[in-house]
């Protein structure tokens, strides 16, 4: 059963990967990478059960966290081409 | 100060949940870690009514099941739309005014909208939300304003005392 779920997740990841490689705009790629990250979290969790040692969910938790931070960083970069500006100093709005 | 204490309590509870080891050394380390984190959070100016909204915890807990049920319903709708060979999508952008009083309430509202598939908040400025809706049903569901009322109710007790977010 877990194998079936992980197979489904893998197919989903492949589809997201397709969008990330094709993605006409940058935003498509970011979106796909974000979805990909979420799927990775789920895949790691499912694999823990598949291998019979589900104690290693910390990794999945770290993943969820890092994925969030990376996506924020990326959107910030896309908007400002710079990581350092404090949000909201300029009038263009911010992330 | 009260909020710092409660944040510390929440964090220590989180530590106990994560840890699962109840030896004196680790309990002490957990306490030390909690204190360090609370100090850094104070330095970062994170502890206020927005960063640690204890004042609406109970109502929020009541709100969650309703939101989950909404998410499930919306998911099924959107999934049906996507699977159909001719996608019957009807994207639209609408502007809504949230009736919440603080920005925290607006944020809860905006995130609830985004969390429900079929509608994504693409802008939030001074209480006016721009929402991108995938289908007509999703848009109409929002215009009915059910979620808006509920979020306002969650926030209900928050006014009265010093307002940080507004």
């Amino acid at each position: 059963m877990f194998a079936g779920a992980s197979a489904a997740i893998l197919v989903t990841m492949a589809l997201a990967l397709f969008r990330a490689i094709r993605g006409p705009t940058i935003y498509d790629r970011i979106l796909a990478v974000n979805a990909f990250g979420t799927l990775t979290v789920v895949l790691i969790a499912v694999h823990g059960f598949l291998a019979g040692r589900p104690e290693f969910l910390d990794i999945a938790l770290v993943y969820a966290l890092i994925n969030f931070i990376a996506t924020i960083a990326v959107t910030k970069y896309v908007k400002f081409s710079h990581l350092g500006h404090p949000s909201g100093e300029d009038e263009r709005g911010d992330v | 100060m009260l909020q710092a204490l409660s944040l510390g309590a929440v964090l220590y509870g989180l530590w106990l949940l994560l840890s699962g080891h109840f030896e004196p050394l680790l309990l002490g380390l957990g306490l030390a870690s909690t204190i360090v984190v609370v100090l850094i959070a104070r330095r970062m100016d994170l502890i206020d009514r927005e960063g640690h909204p204890i004042h609406l915890s109970w109502r929020f807990l009541l709100y969650i099941p309703w939101l989950l049920w909404e998410i499930v319903k919306a998911n099924i709708d959107i999934a049906r739309v996507i699977v159909r060979p001719r996608m019957a999508i009807d994207p639209s952008v609408l502007r809504l005014k949230g009736t919440q009083k603080s920005e925290l309430g607006h944020v809860i509202y905006a995130n609830s909208i985004t969390l429900t598939p079929g509608t994504v908040t693409i802008g939030l400025e001074e209480g006016v939300l721009s929402v991108h809706a995938l289908t007509r049903e999703a848009a109409e569901g929002l215009i009915r304003g059910d979620m808006d009322r509920r979020v306002t109710a969650v926030e209900g007790a928050a006014d009265g005392r010093g307002e940080h977010g507004a």
Binding site: F56, V95 | L11, V37, H52, N111
Partner: protein, 138 residues
């Protein structure tokens, strides 16, 4: 408020748990996956998130340059001094068995201290590097 609401509120909610999680990883490296290297990186990423949302200058106020550099050096110093402590107590360099009466407890103590040194160094290094990169003018 100058910052945009959604990100500000959510990151205010999330940064303290992230830091606590980093420290949890730090001190539970003995029992599950984790340890100083990972904890340092996660701790640094909490700061990076703060810098991304609230601006690099505010982040610099919270963690000034001298603080991160001290952290960076202190970790290495802690590591090395645990080793030297082993020598002073009659063992070899980096031999923790002599740190306590019972060799097993000594080992445990030594490993915890070492991991803490590693974590401090890594987080200091990562925060320093990030701040340098983000602080450049184009």
């Amino acid at each position: 408020m100058i910052f945009k609401a959604v990100l500000r509120v959510v990151s205010k909610l999330l940064i303290p748990p992230i830091m606590l999680f980093a420290l949890y990883v730090q001190f539970h490296g003995d029992f599950g996956p984790g340890g100083g290297f990972q904890a340092g990186v996660i701790f640094a990423s909490a700061f990076i998130l703060y810098a991304l949302i609230f601006g690099i200058d505010n982040a610099r106020k919270v963690a000034p340059a001298w603080a991160t550099r001290t952290l960076l050096s202190l970790g290495l110093l802690l590591y090395a001094s645990v080793g030297v402590a082993g020598i002073l107590l009659g063992g070899n360099f980096l031999d923790y068995s002599v740190l306590a009466e019972d060799p097993v407890i000594g080992q445990h103590l030594g490993i915890t201290l070492i991991e803490f040194g590693v974590g401090a160094t890594v987080s200091g290094a990562m925060i320093t590097i990030f701040f340098i990169f983000a602080h450049q003018d184009r």
